[in-house]
Structure formats: structure tokens, C-alpha cells
Symmetry: C2
Subunit: 363 residues, 2 copies
């Protein structure tokens, strides 16, 4: 059943007031600020209806109303005005990211820190391969008296290396032969195709290799696995304590412990289909620990077959509009930078995904 226009306006007023103040909202406050030209008594009736229909909740009989998860959902899908980020914010994002993108390894953690600083919520960041990786090329460089350096180029153009200690110096022509064999038989293999049989067959096909092949193969496999699901990084977890809903020590503690478990982080929601951002509100989250928190996550294209996620965890009473805008701007910037493009203009507004998806009102 569709809500009347007036009810929607009132719901929106409740949500926005609550987001701002974290206090239950009463009929009087709405009557005086929302500019609807209605008395508090009328508003009271409407509030009672909205509560009846599950969009609002009452902490107790004589308190104001607060939005329920359903109420937030409707707000996010239909009611909220889509923020654009301010010029200063855009500037800060561009500045932080531009100088960092040169080096990929620290990028994830820097993105996390930036996001957390900007949104004032705990943020997480991770990156992973969009499709299975393979090794594109092997190189073996001799090292005097200690062994060799293995250099591998992966299918996503990442380069990995390892110093392999052998206790002797392999002859250059042996290394040349080995690398030819390796490039011939172990390139293009995905993680699952890296079978022991395959490795053994390769090993047999070259004489006098002293186990180098198996070391190389082991390292390659390890890197493929590691590159598949990169470490998740969390920044600014302490920001939670600034939020009134986490004044409760036990709650804050549980959430911090939850956020520090990277296995859990990998279970967090992801944008679905071709949408770039997803908002999950309170009980929509699968994890028990997140049932009264919300998550906003954005996907970005990290170039070369890599995709990344940046997300923010906060109370259900978070400013969905501006946080979503910030996240998608960061994601767009990252995507553009990683394919060598310029900074994005602040827009276009992204589509949201989530449960009960509605038709966002673009204003």
C-alpha cells in the first residue's frame, strides 16, 4: 500500500531530524519545522498511522518516534535528496588519491583511511581479482652465492617477486632453460589448474633443476591465492565511539572486535549486478553483529581485472545521502585514476541497490 504524499513528507522530516539529532522526534517539532502548515495534533495522527504501518517506532509510550529499518529503507529509496559532495571534499579526495596511486601496495589502506576521515565512520577497503588470475610470465635472475630472484608477472599486470635461497649459485644457462620451461608450461594456469601433477610433469621435463621448479610453483600458487582475495583493511574503528548509539560499552566492544576480524569483513554486502553502490540497513544485514547498524559499500574498478570495495559501517541513523555521495565519488575517482583518466566530475548520481529497491527520486 502506497503512502500518501503527506505521510511521506512527515516520514522524511522524522528521518532527517533523527539523523541530525539522534533524539526521538515529537509531533510538535515536526509541526514547527517541517513547514507543512499542520498542527501537532494532525501530525500526531499521521505519526500513529506510520507507526502502525511499521515505518516508525516508539522507544516507549511517551517518547517521540524514531525511524524503523523499513522507514529508513523507504527514505533511502524514495525520499532522500541526493547529495553531491562539496568542492572542498572533492578537492581533498583528489589530492589524497592522486599522489598515492603510483604505488599500488599501500593504496588499499590509504583509501580506507581517507574514507574514514571523510565520513567520520569506520571504513573498510579491499580489492580482489574480478576473474581468476594466472601467471603471465616467469623470470629467474641469478644472485651471487645465494640463489635466485623469481619475478612473476600476473595476468592483471601485477609483478611479484621472491628471493629464493638455494645455498648455491645456479648456472645462468640453467636458469634460462628453466624459465623457458616455466613460461611454456605454467603460464596461463589458474589457481585450480595448478595441480601437483602439472608441477611434477614440468619438473620432470627439465634435468638438474634441484627442486627449483617446485619452489617456484609453490610461490606462484601462493601469490595467485593471495591476489584473489586481498587482505581487508579497516580504518578509523575508533570513530564508532563518537556515535551516541555506541555509548554502550559492550556494544562498542563487540562491534570493534567484529570489525577487526578480516574473515567477517569479507562477508560484508557487495553491490549487486551493475550498480556501483549498495546500502544495507540494520536487519537487512546478514551478520548478527550488524543487525542494528548500516553498511554502505561502493565498488570501484581498480584496473587490470581488479575490483575494489570501499565501505563504511555506522549506526542505522547515518547520513545515507552524504556518505553515499562521498563513497561513490571516491570510487569513481579511483576507477578513473586507475585507468589513467582524469578526475571525475562530481556526478553523475549513481544508482543505489538494496532490498525492496525503489525508484530513486532524483532531485
Amino acid at each position: 500500500m502506497e503512502l500518501t504524499d503527506r505521510k511521506k513528507k512527515i516520514l522524511r522530516a522524522v528521518v532527517e531530524s533523527y539523523i541530525e539529532t539522534a533524539e526521538p522526534v515529537g509531533s510538535k517539532a515536526i509541526a514547527s519545522t517541517a513547514g507543512l502548515g499542520l498542527s501537532s495534533a494532525t501530525i500526531r495522527n499521521e505519526l500513529a498511522d506510520l507507526t502502525e504501518e511499521g515505518y516508525l517506532e516508539q522507544p516507549h509510550t511517551s517518547a517521540g518516534r524514531i525511524p524503523s529499518a523499513k522507514g529508513y529503507r523507504l527514505y533511502v529509496n524514495e525520499l532522500m535528496e541526493r547529495h553531491r559532495i562539496s568542492a572542498e571534499e572533492a578537492e581533498e579526495i583528489n589530492a589524497s588519491l592522486k599522489q598515492r596511486l603510483q604505488r599500488l601496495d599501500g593504496l588499499i589502506s590509504d583509501v580506507g583511511k581517507l574514507t574514514s576521515r571523510l565520513t567520520n565512520f569506520p571504513a573498510y577497503a579491499m580489492a580482489s581479482a574480478a576473474s581468476p588470475l594466472t601467471v603471465k610470465r616467469f623470470e629467474l635472475l641469478p644472485v651471487e652465492d645465494s640463489g635466485l630472484i623469481l619475478v612473476m608477472m600476473l595476468s592483471n599486470n601485477a609483478v611479484k617477486n621472491k628471493l629464493v635461497k638455494l645455498g648455491f649459485s645456479p648456472a645462468p644457462d640453467l636458469l634460462a632453460k628453466l624459465s623457458t620451461v616455466l613460461n611454456a608450461s605454467l603460464t596461463g594456469l589458474t589457481e585450480t589448474e595448478f595441480t601437483p601433477e602439472k608441477i611434477e610433469a614440468t619438473e620432470r621435463s627439465v634435468a638438474g633443476e634441484n627442486g627449483i621448479v617446485s619452489v617456484v610453483a609453490g610461490f606462484a600458487l601462493e601469490e595467485l591465492i593471495k591476489a584473489r582475495d586481498s587482505e581487508a583493511y579497516v580504518a578509523g574503528a575508533g570513530k564508532l565511539l563518537g556515535q551516541p548509539e555506541y555509548q554502550d560499552l559492550g556494544k562498542a566492544h563487540r562491534m570493534l572486535e567484529y570489525l577487526s576480524d578480516s574473515r567477517e569483513l569479507k562477508q560484508l554486502p557487495q553491490p549487486e549486478g551493475d550498480s556501483k553502490i549498495k546500502i544495507t540497513i540494520g536487519p537487512e544485514n546478514l551478520a548478527e553483529e550488524l543487525k542494528d547498524s548500516s553498511v554502505i559499500v561502493a565498488r570501484y574498478d581498480a584496473g587490470d581485472n581488479m575490483q575494489g570495495l570501499i565501505g563504511v559501517v555506522g549506526p542505522t541513523r547515518m547520513d545515507y545521502s552524504s556518505v553515499a555521495a562521498q563513497l561513490s565519488y571516491i570510487a569513481d575517482t579511483l576507477s578513473n585514476l586507475s585507468r589513467g583518466g582524469a578526475m571525475p566530475l562530481p556526478g553523475p548520481l549513481p544508482r543505489l541497490t538494496g532490498e525492496n529497491e525503489g525508484d530513486p527520486t532524483e532531485k
Copy 2:
């Protein structure tokens, strides 16, 4: 002025009881548990003396005593029994570290996590070069149609690489020539010796190099700087909330923010001279934020001219004895592993450093 033996015993009883219970300790409790054969009245007199001399404090007139920073210091230097870690703990440490040492890049963060899990306090870990690094060797590998892979071996045997995009494919013999030149003129240079003049001179000495030299030099310099002071990593910050002294939200919040600032972390105390571990108690800390917390930090030898630090931050009421034992065991294990040795035996007991250093009573 030296304390009498009896006063020391009483002080020790107070400290240990307080560490265990976090409650102010009364004269009666000491009389009944410390086994000194004295009445509570006698103890009361002694407590009054100890308070007078600054080793103990009274939260308020009618409460028991708690140790002051001075009291903890005396306890740490002279009174505390040096724990050895249990066999189970040793086993856990060995198991976690052994499988991880293969790959150095994730090591720091893993060590931090391990330390935090073991001690139940927030832990931090970092590593840095003990003396200035240099590049030991350059290698340039061609990449079809996109540029080249730069591989550098540093003086600490770490290998770094970078994919350099050029937009064209450099001729193999050009790369060979370039790497000869690079190895001839840019190896062995410390960060400060990497002057623009030097780079320019190198650039001039080879024809047709299309700016490759300056890219390589820039990357080399960047890596030298980065390797010098590695990122600091913090794990288990949420553990703080489990401690009774951080029930105060504001205090916990400030501390979490402090710990998430890696610039601050680099200012944390370090073991001095040739001692391997350092304990800083409450106001002995320089940082304002740590004036009522304690830090225990251990140094380890990460092989190849690298040294690492692992530390723990907690309330002054922390179990110095067992945390110090855990840290030094982890540090020893890391040192041994990194030089390819076996697991250490649980010992020898390390020397402590700190202010007002005393002569530790080994029991």
C-alpha cells in the same frame, strides 16, 4: 632511601593484588593473603609510610591503596617475578610465526595480530632499516608493447619491483645497456646520496634512453625511503574496551584515535642501548595521551640489517611480568627465524630497560 624488606613485600602484595583485581587494596586483604604474619594495623602503618613516600596512592580517604607510577617502577625493576611463558603459549607463537615468515610483506601485521591476541591488549608492530639502505642491483625486463619491469635488489636483500609503462617496447639491447649503466653508477647509494645531479649524470652517459633512468631512479629513491621507516601497524585496538580503566568513553575514544595515528606510533618508546625490551610506565611516557597508560616494547632482529619493534599499550595496571615475557619470546622467535635458526628455548630472561633502572631480581 632504600625501603625495608618488609615494605617491599607489602608493596609487591599491593601491586599484584591490584593488577589482578583492579580494585584498591586494603590493609586487611594484605594481612590475610600475603602471609606476612602481621596484623592489619601494622600493615596500615606501613601502607601509610609507602603512601607518604610516593609509592602508593589513595583514590580517596576511605579507600584502599593503589600503586603509583613510582610504585610500579620499583615493582618492575626489583620486585616482580620474571614469568616464563607457558608451553602452550610458546607453541601458539611458534605455530603462528613459522608458517608466515616465508613472506615478509604480511609479516608485520601478522605479528601485531598475534601479539594482541596473546596479550589481550592493543599491539603495534613496525620494522625499519637499522642502517641506511642502498640498491644492490638493478634489472630491467622488457614487457611487450607496454614498457618494462624494473626489479631492484636492496642491500637488505629485499626485492622490489615496478611495472613501468612507456607506451612502447624498448629494445632488449637498450635495456641491457641501461641496466649495466644503472648497476655501475646508482648501486650502493644511500637515500641522501641519490642527488638529482647524480641521476642527471647517469642519464647523460647513455643515449636514447627516453627518460627511463629518471623513472628508475625515482622509484629507487622512493623505495629506499619507504623501506627506511616502514608503516606501523596496530592490531586489536578494541581490546582496550575490555579493560576497566577504559570504561570511560571519552578516554577510550581518545586512546583509540591516538593509536590510529601512525605518526604518533613512530614516537613511541624504544629499547635503549643493547637491551631488548623496554617498559614505560604512565607519566614516564612522553606523549600526553599515554600519561596514564603503560607501554611495553621489544626489539627484534629481522635479519638483513632490518630491525623490528613489537609493542603493547595498556593501562598502568597491566601484568608487566607476563606481557614482557610474551613480547620477548615473540621477539626472540622472530629474530631466530629470520636468521634461519630454530625456535628459541623459553629463555634466557631478558634485561629490562626503563627509567630509574634497577637491578632485576632474578628468581
